[in-house]
Subunit: 787 residues, 2 copies
Amino acid sequence: VSSPPLPLSASLYLTVHYLNKLLSISASVFCRVSGVGAFSLWDVAYCFNMRKESRLIRWIGRIVVVTALLLLGFIIGWFAKPTTNTTNQIASSKYLREFLDEMQSDQIREHLRKFTRLPHLAGTEQNLRYAEQIRKEWLEFGLDSVEMVPYDVLLSYPNKSQPNYISIVDQLGSEVFNTSLAEPVPAGYEDVSNIVPPYSAFSAKGQPEGDLVYVNYGRTEDFFQLEREMGINVTGKIVIVRYGKIFRGNKVKNAMLAGAKGIIMFSDPADYWAAGVQPYPDGWNLPGGGVQRGNVLNLNGAGDPLTPGYPAKEYTYRFSLEDAVGLPKIPVHPIGFHDAIHLLKNMGGLIPPNNWKGALNVSYKIGPGFTDDFKSQKVRMNIHTNNQLTRIYNVIGRIRGALEPDRYVILGGHRDAWVFGGIDPMSGAAVVHETVRSAGRLLSKGWRPRRTLIFASWDAEEFGLQGSTEWAEDNAKLLQERAVAYINADSAIEGMYTLRVDCTPSLHTLVYDITKQIASPEEGEEGVSLYDSWHKRDNWTNDRNAPRINKLGSGSDFEAYFIRLGIAAGRARYTKNKITERYSSYPVYHSVYETFEIVEKFYDPSFKRLRAVAQVRGGLIFRLADSLLLPLDVNQYADSLRKYAQSIAQLAQRHPEEMKMYAVSFDSLFSAVENFTIAARDFHERLQILNREDPLQVRVMNDQLMYLERAFIDPLGLPGRPFYRHVIFAPSSHNKYAGESFPGIYDALFDIENSADPEKAWEEVKRQISIAAFTVHSAAMTLTPPA
Amino acid sequence: VSSPPLPLSASLYLTVHYLNKLLSISASVFCRVSGVGAFSLWDVAYCFNMRKESRLIRWIGRIVVVTALLLLGFIIGWFAKPTTNTTNQIASSKYLREFLDEMQSDQIREHLRKFTRLPHLAGTEQNLRYAEQIRKEWLEFGLDSVEMVPYDVLLSYPNKSQPNYISIVDQLGSEVFNTSLAEPVPAGYEDVSNIVPPYSAFSAKGQPEGDLVYVNYGRTEDFFQLEREMGINVTGKIVIVRYGKIFRGNKVKNAMLAGAKGIIMFSDPADYWAAGVQPYPDGWNLPGGGVQRGNVLNLNGAGDPLTPGYPAKEYTYRFSLEDAVGLPKIPVHPIGFHDAIHLLKNMGGLIPPNNWKGALNVSYKIGPGFTDDFKSQKVRMNIHTNNQLTRIYNVIGRIRGALEPDRYVILGGHRDAWVFGGIDPMSGAAVVHETVRSAGRLLSKGWRPRRTLIFASWDAEEFGLQGSTEWAEDNAKLLQERAVAYINADSAIEGMYTLRVDCTPSLHTLVYDITKQIASPEEGEEGVSLYDSWHKRDNWTNDRNAPRINKLGSGSDFEAYFIRLGIAAGRARYTKNKITERYSSYPVYHSVYETFEIVEKFYDPSFKRLRAVAQVRGGLIFRLADSLLLPLDVNQYADSLRKYAQSIAQLAQRHPEEMKMYAVSFDSLFSAVENFTIAARDFHERLQILNREDPLQVRVMNDQLMYLERAFIDPLGLPGRPFYRHVIFAPSSHNKYAGESFPGIYDALFDIENSADPEKAWEEVKRQISIAAFTVHSAAMTLTPPA
């Protein structure tokens, strides 16, 4: 127990001052007996002078003893005054253990079963019921408050009386083949109503008819290849692409840019079929009638398409549908591979390049004139999906922070599902539920975190991260000033192999720390830590000797928090072996076959994997909320920045002549990274010698840690993407799921060799380098001593 | 002296724990003598049991006394442990008095004389020399650090070999009259070189020739009147307007929008001549040869035109001149009224409306065809001004905060002057200089403010607030998180009547408090406070019974801090009687006649007025930096918001039918203001019962106070003005000098009766009301308890 440094003179002054006071009182008591009023040391001396000398000496002796004892007591009292920080941190570690141990596999199983019985699409009655149930249970678990937060946003549903489908039509316009209107319902769910048929949310309405062109995955490079190498123009055609590799919204955008009048997406077994695995219900592969639902927006972080930048409250001004953000202008529809075979086998015509052939081994057609039997057949899309203003509900629970209530650590994940949500999102929601239960137990034992914990059950994630984004917009001012970190809790499992973590660099070290305190859920790995299990299975050989951690992309609810607001963020889930298992996502993704049973039978029969994920997510928020010093590692950010800077500079170096011609240099960026590295190292050193007993000094450095991520935000946003404001990380412009580092520079360099105006294009590269250099330099400044 | 609340049980536990420890030691000493080792109360008891009973009793008595004394000492020690906040605040008040008293009129006079001897235009050698001198003296005064911070920005200078002037040309193209190339230099300054001739900085180059049209003050409404009522089109003409009423950059913008090919501005005696006052040097009126210099940019807060949004560092990417922000595309030139008479008297033609007639009683010409003697004469502008990338220097001084070094209070004002800067800006700079000297004296007496004080001497304010804006851009991340307030220090005097304050609502109360502690500088008002003197002279009858305080507009260096970053801001200066003195600004504004002598002889011979201004500005930053609780008044903000909301709603109510037709309602805004009012009142009440001894609790509420202004910032900015981001206040779109409240709504409503698409226009009004309501509601949320 040590005391805050206090000037010695002040201590001495106070000691003497109080002793003097005390002695004068004591003396006055003594002298009172002999009728002398004495009120200070001098008076005492005077008083004693009146007595005989022998008694004087004895009294002096007594006074010395009394003084010494009082002084001793005083000193003890002074130093005994509690300096709580150290003690609290020991207690915090003990509580962390209890918190992790309290989380139970059986509980998670029950939570998952409970919340996957019925379909609960965003905006439906059932999803509101689950929200109310979660609210009720979180209150029972012991949260300080739980509220329902509604917004009125634009959603999209199939027209119940006019189903969506795709036809092959003959010369007379007759539909000679129609795709199926629904997926075969899995056993045990036959009586369930309200299963939404497969559709592409926010598709434009329409019945375009035309020739079909196959464009592989519909990636930017696929369209480039089609146009540049094969000389095929898709204007006025309908394109068909396989699902996978990139976010489906990007495929739609590419098709629109290429001039297509409709786009069909299908799940190719090459991408959604694991070798040696049976289709559901005998295994976890996607049946031929299974279809991936999903929205096809290009929101770029806007949230509700009608209220970009502002929360969709009752009074909020809404754009007209024509001015809405990110809606596709063409019909879009998803099909399974049984249906896809029919469409593709009727295409005939050219043979596509080898790397375009999926398991269905398609060729493609580009219009009449090809000498094949089917040249006169066309495809017709019948799409009647409606956009609809709909009320959605977030559930927000809180545990008030004991010492810093104005510092927020958020654990959020969505609740809305395409159908049952067995994996997406309820495996994640069950984990959050268990985390809340465990936190509630701790509260009842007297624990209360230093900072405020916020738990969120988001709505309408599947419709473009709307629930989380609207809440972020609604609370932007508070979050900007107060949010320490956001941990995302979407699907907790997508494979059976090991842990997968995507997070901001400053969280790497905490993730490693926490996973060392958690047991591996794998059979035969008793006594092995999750960290060691993970490390063994996914070693990150090109960096520190540690398990792989990825950059954050998007496609889940952390987006607004991380990329718009600059709040340190991370996500963790159980995943497949990405080297041996090459299929996209997991096979039944967004199909009706995402049931409770697929998790219970195949993905995690013991529910130990979900428990491990719960412990990782829970451990992260616990440490972030309860540590005296924020567990954010500035040095790791420096390392990552250096790596990203080198990598983007290398990309530019593919054009050495242009770099020279237009005087493009990365020196300013490297110099800023160097500044940052030094500032981070110095900051880290100052952190080690910080007086942890001084609450203000601790707060000052914690604020520097908290605001570091914020420093990477450019209020002007990335070019054309005002709500993507993080200069270091953004979703790729070509695939929303993937994270791009230094996205401004990356996009400026993209396909620059084909730029119509190279000088202008390279000027933009220079501008983006300058912005990146400034931002990194600025962030470095936030780590230097504040004055 | 009270202690932070500590659970009683903990105190008791610790008392007993330490007493037990101590007694065991004492007892062990006693028992050691008799050979018994005793280490706890129980051992002591055992030890004493071995002795005879009589001695036991005596010992027990002694132990009781010893224990009592130790306990007493302990308790004293416990409570004596300093709880510094209260004591510090008493010391702070004492130091404030010393700080104010230390500021001396004679010192201010010397500072002013020293820094006005030579012209020191931004970007010149002399202005760098003054910067270095200020740096040196601030260090001598005792600041912890003073640095020069350079930027490379776009400035604009006349071409030294090709002077700018305006001619009247005859049919043959001969110049029959030329305007003067310079102002007559005032006595005593004949040998001074480097006096820049009058010019409009950033004017386009060119020699347009054409008919001259007079457009009064060149305001939006003047051009409307010209076009709509008089049916006169100025396309291809040269316009001439009087200075005054609005910022000259707005005049130029209006002329460009109207299609003029050049614009001439002159100082009309109606606007720059005080009745009964002699022209300089016999009085303080503008001589006929005097001309107002000034920039004619429309930056809308961008700072350096080539690097909008980012600091103009060496590595920063710069736009080409074509893409630069806010540069006029037409030649612009200023003239004095002696020259103006020549141009105007040769115009002939129509008689302008009465309200357009200045002292020169002009008519105007709109092209050939008018039956007057001069119809064949045209005007030619000869403008050769160059834009030039130039290094400028801010001087930044700091006093590190003792307890919260990461909280910044800034006092900033510019140093660059058009010529000598006798009033603008050196009357302000001298005041800052004296403030720094006084703060340095306090430091040497042991004072150190709770928060960090930053003093700034900005460069290139006259060229569009560039020095202050670039520094704000450079430090945006730090300022956003850490700046408590910005106090501006441009010209400290523009009249001889009373105080003038423009500030954010939350500073009103502090301004009143401080001015009550300062003496009136007016003769015959000995013993009267500045507050009372000000109140008597400028009573704000339509609000609280207090002196008038105005909204902040722009035209000085607070702009980026207040309107872009949302930092509470204010300015104070001595001013004229705005009721009886109707001239614009002050007559010699931006002319060569702004000398030291004009202040010494006319404006403030005793320098007491400047001292009072120094005390106001200094008092504000002192209290903001050193008060335990930030002296910001949230209730006053609520009052102001209500007033502004009512006023903008009234403006809309001028169109009752359209309001109905397009369903425009202000209800959401009024409801948000009501929320804010309640939140502010509750906050204020919680502030009264705050435990001021708990540093974290104090910090939490101070942060709420600090971030309140930030909550009014919309990161998306106002329409078309991305760097004006304050939803409550912005410079008027029609006059940069004036502040507009709810500017988004105001601009949407502006001239709406003449909108080409009324539905769209009213939709925009609704959108802006929605944004305002959200922002006010958001700000209210920041005042509620943080969790």
